[in-house]
C-alpha cells in the first residue's frame, strides 16, 4: 500500500506518523516544496525574534526522525493529480503512483492587488526564507510598514518590535484581528500595541507602494497620506493552495471540500489542514479554518481513515491564541455569539472576557489577559456541555468558567 502525502506541515507530518503507527508495513512518502525539513510556521515569529534558530522551528527535532519511522521525505512541487490512474505528477514531470493520497498543501499568503506590491523590500512573512530576509532588513530604527493586522500580522509584531524597528500597521478592517476578536477586544489590543509604540491605522487601505530612493513610500487611505518605509511586510491573509488540483476532479470551494472523515469528492483522495473546507463545528457547513491544532487533528483523522479506520471530525472549531507584545488573547468557537452572552471589560488593566451561549451551552468565548485554564473553554464548547444552573452563574460572573467546567463537564461523561 502506497500512501502519499503532499505537504509537510503539521497536518502532513501528523498524518504520516499516524499512518506509520497504524500501518507498520505501508510505504509512506511526504512531499514538501521548500528546501527545509518539515517546520512550523507557528514558530517563525520566535525565529524572527532570534529566540530560536532554524532547528527550533522544526516539527520534529531528531535528525533521523522521519528515516527511523520509514517516512520517505521528498522535496518537490506537485503540478497536478491524475486521479483516473492514481498518480501525481511533479513539476519536473516525474510521476508517482498512490493507493491513498492526502493533500495537506496548506495555504499561501494573499498578495493584495496594490501597485508596487512586487517591489524589492516588500515581503510576505510566511516561510523561513521570508523570515531570514526580513531579519536581514529589519534593523533597529528601520521604518517598517505592515499591511494587515490579522493573526499573522499580529504574531510577528512582537518579533519586529523586539528588533527595534519603528512599526506602523495598516489594517483594512475596523479593528485589529477582526476575524478572531470582538470589537471590544480588538480595540483593547490596538490600545495596547499603540501604548507599546506601534502606530496602528484601522479602516484604512494601502493604496500604493512606490520607490523613494533606497526606501519606499507607502500611500495610505483615500487621501493618500504617505508613509516612508525601509521595509513593507504584507500580511493580508492566506488562501488554500489548490491551484494544482485543476482538472483532478476534487471538489473545491474556497478550499478542498471534505466530509467529516476528511475524504474529498474523489475516492482515495483525502485532505487535511489549512487547505480544506471542513464542516464547521456549529454550522456543519464547509468552512476554512487555518489554525495549527485543527491541522494536526485533521491530519490524524485523515490518516486513520486512509489506514482503513473510521474516524470522524466533530466539526472544525475555530480556536486562536495571540500574543501581541505581551498581551495574550484567545478566542474560541462562535465567539461572535448569537445574542446571548456576557462581556466583562477592564480597560485599565487590559483584561477582557466574553462568553457566548446558545440555550445553556457555551458556543464561543474571547479572552484577553487570561492564560490560566483557558483550554477549558474549548472543553466546554466542544463537549456541548449543558451548563444548567451554571449558565446563570456565568452570566453573573463569567470569571467562574473554570469552576463551571469542573462542575459540569466531567459529569457529562
Amino acid at each position: 500500500m502506497k500512501h502519499i502525502i503532499i505537504g509537510n506541515g503539521p497536518a502532513g507530518v501528523v498524518a504520516a506518523e499516524t499512518l506509520r503507527r497504524l500501518r507498520p508495513e505501508a510505504e509512506i512518502a511526504l512531499i514538501g516544496d521548500e528546501a527545509e525539513p518539515p517546520y512550523s510556521r507557528m514558530a517563525i515569529p520566535y525565529f524572527l525574534q532570534g529566540n530560536i534558530d532554524a532547528h527550533g522551528t522544526h516539527l520534529r527535532k531528531s535528525h533521523d526522525h522521519f528515516a527511523t519511522h520509514g517516512i520517505h521525505l521528498i522535496e518537490g512541487r506537485v503540478a497536478c493529480i491524475d486521479s483516473a490512474v492514481k498518480q501525481i505528477q511533479f513539476q519536473s514531470g516525474e510521476r508517482l503512483h498512490y493507493d491513498k493520497l492526502l493533500i495537506a498543501t496548506g495555504s499561501h499568503p494573499v498578495r493584495p492587488n496594490i501597485p508596487g506590491i512586487d517591489l524589492a523590500n516588500v515581503h510576505t512573512c510566511w516561510t523561513l526564507d521570508d523570515a531570514r530576509a526580513i531579519a536581514a532588513k529589519a534593523k533597529p530604527g528601520s521604518r517598517v510598514v505592515q499591511l494587515g493586522a490579522g493573526f499573522i500580522g499580529c504574531i510577528i509584531m512582537e518579533a519586529l518590535a523586539a528588533r527595534g524597528v519603528q512599526l506602523t500597521v495598516v489594517e483594512l478592517g475596523d479593528r485589529m484581528v477582526p476575524r478572531m476578536m470582538t470589537p471590544q477586544a480588538g480595540a483593547m489590543i490596538k490600545r495596547w500595541v499603540e501604548a507599546k509604540g506601534v502606530a496602528v491605522h484601522v479602516n484604512t487601505a494601502i493604496t500604493a507602494i512606490e520607490r523613494n530612493g533606497d526606501a519606499l513610500r507607502v500611500k495610505v487611505g483615500a487621501g493618500g497620506t504617505a508613509l516612508d518605509a525601509d521595509l513593507v511586510i504584507s500580511a493580508a491573509g492566506v488562501r488554500p493552495n489548490v491551484d494544482f488540483l485543476a482538472g483532478s476532479g476534487v471538489e473545491i470551494g474556497l478550499g478542498i471540500r471534505v466530509d467529516r472523515g476528511m475524504r474529498t469528492s474523489v475516492p482515495d483522495i483525502y485532505a487535511a489542514g489549512d487547505v480544506t473546507e471542513a464542516p464547521g463545528f456549529h454550522s456543519g457547513a464547509p468552512q476554512l479554518n487555518a489554525i495549527q491544532p485543527n491541522a494536526a487533528d485533521q491530519g490524524r483523522i485523515a490518516a486513520i481513515n486512509m489506514a482503513g479506520g473510521n474516524a470522524e471530525l466533530q466539526g472544525s472549531l475555530a480556536i486562536n491564541v495571540l500574543d501581541t507584545l505581551g498581551l495574550i488573547s484567545t478566542s474560541f468557537g462562535h465567539w461572535q455569539g448569537k445574542g446571548d452572552g456576557v462581556e466583562l471589560v477592564d480597560e485599565a488593566r487590559f483584561r477582557y472576557l466574553s462568553l457566548q451561549f446558545e440555550d445553556d451551552v457555551l458556543i464561543g468565548a474571547t479572552c484577553i489577559g487570561w492564560t490560566d485554564h483557558v483550554g477549558a473553554l474549548r472543553g466546554l464548547i466542544q463537549t456541548r456541555t449543558k451548563l444548567g444552573a451554571w449558565k446563570a452563574r456565568l452570566k453573573a460572573d463569567p470569571t467562574q468558567f473554570m469552576a463551571a467546567y469542573l462542575a459540569t463537564a466531567p459529569k457529562a461523561a
Binding site: 503539521p10 501528523v14 512550523s40 510556521r41 507557528m42 514558530a43 515569529p45 520566535y46 529566540n51 530560536i52 527550533g56 522551528t57 522544526h58 516539527l59 520534529r60 527535532k61 495549527q292 491544532p293 494536526a296 487533528d297 490524524r300 483523522i301 486513520i304 479506520g309 473510521n310 474516524a311 470522524e312 471530525l313 466533530q314 466539526g315 480556536i319 486562536n320 491564541v321 500574543d323 505581551g326 495574550i328 484567545t330 474560541f332 492564560t371 490560566d372 485554564h373 483557558v374 483550554g375 477549558a376 473553554l377 474549548r378 472543553g379 466542544q382 463537549t383 473554570m402 469552576a403 467546567y405 469542573l406 462542575a407 463537564a409 466531567p410 457529562a412 461523561a413
Partner: protein, 159 residues
Amino acid sequence: MQKSLHIDANKCTGCLQCEMACSYENYGVFNPSRSRIKVFNFEHEGRKVPYTCTQCADAWCMNACPVDAIRIDAATGAKVVNEATCVGCKVCTIACPFGTINYVAETGKVQKCDLCGGEPACAAACPTGAITYVDADWTGFDKMRVWAAKTDTAPRAAA
C-alpha cells in the same frame, strides 16, 4: 503497570499543601500561582477539588505542539514539556480541552504536570490522602478519560 494520580475530592480540605509542594518541586519556591495542580473551591457546596493533567492517551497538547516540545516520558507515561524546545506559542493551552497546560509569563514557556518523574510531590504532601499515586487501573480518572474520548475529535474506533 503505569501509575496515575488519583484524586478523591471528598478528602480534600483545601489546605493547598499540594500547590506548595508542586511549586517547590519545580521552581524551588512556595508559590501556588505556579503550581501545576490547582485546588478549586466550590464555596457554596463546601467542596474542594484538586485538579491537574490526566495525562490523556492521545494528548491534545502534544499533538498540537508545533515544535515537538511535548514528549511522552517512557517510564511514567507523563506528557512532558521540554522547556528548551518550547517556543511559548501557547497553541497547546487552547488545544487542551481540560485547561491543564498553562502559559507562564515569567518563563515564556508553558507548564503542565509531569508526574515529577514518577514521585509526584503533590501526592507526597497531601495530608488527607485526597491525592494519591496509584496503579492506573483503579483511578477515578477513568471517568475523565471517557469524557476525554468524547471530547476527542478522533473517534473511539481509532483507539
